[in-house]
């Protein structure tokens, strides 16, 4: 087993055994995601389906907004509730310094720790988003219009949104490892509401079509920008900076 996968397995196991953290995550996730899904469903989808001739494009747009936002929210909340709390704990407990004193490199630790958060966030997030897709189709769409999913929104929700968080995980873990995990946490805390509010507003005001390829490309572009910002920060990734920041 490679050293990175060892860090990932152990880190995920260690994090997921913290029951309180998991309970907080599930409660916050259910409150935030359900509120968004239920309000759009009741305020927009249900009235549209009440029309004699429901606008399929409009329904696809509403579904697109729900799926994309659900994906961003579920992954983002996992980051908020688990990532930086766990990084802070591991730094203060000397886990990070201990790993660096083994044959592992600072890059192994950075990649490992980024994936420790991203992999479960991806699994929880995408499973939840998929469940929302199935439930909404079963309740609203299949009886009236048939199964509804646009390929571009599928790509944006199930590939591009997670990719944004993967790049964000790389960047924030780099900042958290070489500096204060709280600073990295603040970035995610700001990023999540801004990007969700922005995409919902732009889509609802017909400025941005979530079911189009430009939206998917825009999401991939955000991921690319975050990744590009991360590259120069890599110079700070040294054992010394990591240990001193603890």
């Amino acid at each position: 087993m490679s050293s990175i996968s060892l860090i990932i397995n152990t880190g995920i196991k260690n994090n997921l055994r913290s029951k309180i953290t998991l309970i907080i995550y599930i409660i916050v996730l259910l409150i935030c995601a359900s509120a968004m899904v239920i309000s759009i469903s009741f305020l927009l989808i249900k009235p549209e389906l009440g029309n004699k001739q429901p606008d399929k494009l409009m329904l696809e747009r509403y579904l697109g907004v729900i799926l994309h936002s659900t994906s961003l929210i579920t992954i983002g909340i996992y980051f908020n509730s688990v990532a930086f709390q766990s990084l802070t704990r591991e730094k203060s407990r000397g886990i990070i310094a201990s790993l660096l004193a083994t044959p592992l490199t600072a890059k192994d630790v950075w990649l490992g720790k980024s994936l420790v958060i991203f992999i479960p966030a991806l699994i929880f997030g995408e499973t939840f988003t998929f469940i929302v897709l199935i439930i909404l189709n079963c309740i609203y769409f299949i009886p009236r219009t048939g199964f509804l999913i646009n390929p571009w929104i599928a790509l944006s929700s199930f590939l591009a949104a997670p990719l944004i968080y993967f790049c964000l995980s790389l960047m924030t873990h780099l900042i958290g490892l070489t500096g204060k995990p709280a600073s990295a946490g603040a970035i995610v805390n700001i990023f999540l509401p801004v990007i969700v509010t922005l995409s919902i507003n732009l889509a609802m005001h017909n400025i941005l079509d979530v079911n189009s390829w430009p939206f998917t490309v825009a999401n991939l572009g955000i991921a690319a920008i975050i990744f590009i910002i991360t590259i120069p920060l890599l110079r700070r990734l040294t054992n010394e900076n990591i240990v001193l920041s603890g």
Binding site: M1, S3, L6, T10, K13, N14, N15, R17, S18, R89, S92, R93, G94, I95, A97, S98, L99, L100, A101, T102, P103, L104, N239, E240, V243, L244
Partner: protein
């Protein structure tokens, strides 16, 4: 033959403050080396350099003749840092297996069994580390440090924060490891009693400089033979007391009832003092030569530095 650890003219500056000022010392194979110093003296920085966590600004650091930054060299070192580095939500067994895999060990079952038995944790191996006491955590950290059968153990204050009975257990464990497992141990501590009990060589660092370095026994001898307590059968007359005080080489420090405490200078033996007293008709009940304790050496070096 290469020494276990060889530090030569190492300097380290952090945030424009010189933490290590040209330090040099050698730790031979099989040594239990005590690295002493007050808080902020540079002990942890030295350890971080030895473990490749910090890079020295100048000078060289060799572990068994090899550069510390080589992956192969790191496999020869086991360590316990100031924070134990254990995963709280994992069991002791999972922690040990994880580090065994990091060091690419195979057939870990036997070694884990042996180490948990050495550390006295065989009955708690399946418990989460979060349920362990501080002493148990430190013993587990020591077991983890030896999981890959390293030649050298580098330990940063392994008994810090541990209760007295836990300290005794850890000390005994270290002695067992050194004797039975034939490891070189580099032990940083500010617990002088601990170092005195288990170390054969020491270095004393203060404000980034090595102030004292060598075999503990030699250093004790070099500190002027320690103190001598002579108990007389009856009180000595005031005139003799005055005379004794004027013989500088005897170094009379104190007179407490029938006890006379001397700190003789180099070249003056206990027999010289006894002969002098006998020549004045004083009967001696008891004479005890007390070698300089590490605490006395430590205090005297630090006092010298301050003055």
């Amino acid at each position: 033959m290469n020494p276990a650890i060889n530090i030569k003219n190492v300097r380290k500056t952090l945030n424009s403050r010189e933490i290590l000022k040209d330090i040099s010392f050698t730790v031979e194979k099989g040594d239990i080396f005590g690295y002493l110093g007050p808080n902020g003296a540079g002990k942890t920085t030295t350890i971080r350099i030895l473990l490749g966590l910090f890079q020295a600004n100048s000078g060289s650091v060799e572990i068994l003749g090899q550069d510390i930054n080589m992956s192969q060299t790191r496999k020869k070192i086991g360590f316990v840092l100031d924070a134990d580095g254990l995963y709280d939500n994992m069991t002791a067994l999972e922690n040990l297996v994880f580090y065994a895999h990091i060091y690419e060990m195979s057939g870990t079952e036997e070694i884990i069994k042996k180490l948990t038995s050495i550390a006295g944790l065989e009955n708690r191996i399946s418990d989460r580390v979060s349920t362990y006491s501080k002493g148990m955590r430190q013993r587990l950290a020591l077991a983890r440090a030896m999981i890959h059968n390293p030649d050298i153990l580098i330990l940063d204050e392994p008994t810090s924060g541990v209760d007295p009975s836990g300290q005794i257990e850890i000390r005994q464990l270290l002695i067992n490891i050194a004797q039975n497992e034939k490891k070189t141990i580099f032990l940083s501590s500010h617990n002088l009693d601990e170092v005195q009990r288990i170390c054969n060589r020491i270095a004393l660092i203060d404000r980034g400089e090595i102030k004292l370095y060598g075999e503990l026994e030699e250093l004790r001898r070099g500190m002027g033979g320690g103190t001598v307590l002579i108990r007389t059968a009856h009180n000595i007359p005031e005139s003799l007391h005055y005379e004794l005080r004027n013989i500088v080489s005897f170094g009379l420090k104190e007179k407490k009832g029938l006890d006379l405490i001397f700190s003789p200078s180099e070249g003056t033996g206990v027999s010289d003092i006894i002969s002098f007293l006998a020549s004045h008709g004083i009967k001696i009940e008891e004479a005890i030569k007390k070698e300089a304790s590490l605490e006395e050496m430590y205090a005297s070096i630090l006092k010298e530095v301050e003055t």
